[in-house]
Symmetry: C2
Subunit: 98 residues, 2 copies
């Protein structure tokens, strides 16, 4: 339903997808992300992380002064599956894994 819209909106930004690729399969703290992003300030990165966190697309874990983020691949997979079922039902697997 509207969940698919929220997912699409969360993904609908180049910098957000850059952050997601950085967080794929590893944990990074905000400063590391900022260091790897060119031409994007720390507040902007923090803002994008907030949106991704709100959408459940990243995990967050505090460790001392720093906060580490990592991509939530499960949620991405669930949302992609929902998109497939909604908008490519004739191509999506009929039965989902339980």
């Amino acid at each position: 339903m509207t969940d698919s819209v929220d997912f699409a909106k969360a993904m609908a930004d180049e910098n957000r997808q850059r952050v997601m690729r950085l967080l794929c399969c590893r944990w990074l703290c905000v400063n590391d992300i900022v260091a790897e992003m060119s031409n994007v300030s720390q507040p902007t990165v923090s803002h994008h992380l907030g949106i991704l966190r709100e959408a459940g697309l990243v995990h967050a874990r505090r460790e001392g002064k720093q906060v580490f983020y990592s991509l939530n691949q499960d949620e991405v997979a669930v949302c992609c599956g929902r998109l497939m079922r909604n908008f490519a039902p004739e191509l999506a697997p009929t039965v989902a894994e339980a």
Copy 2:
């Protein structure tokens, strides 16, 4: 790459997803779509159809005075597959169908 961003942007609107659901598995002309959409004017529907067409997410076919649209499920599937490979690689099938 940036294609995933374009796909997400095209999907990032509730009315656009409503239109896509209407066009799932059938052809509708613009007036039919307008009739089934509440509180959305004909120019607005036309505008959304243009964005979906630009993104390759719908097929369009002229038939006399009317233009019929239908959802392009293949493109949706391709884009979802790309999202999966980019952002859920540990959950996506390793080998894609040729």
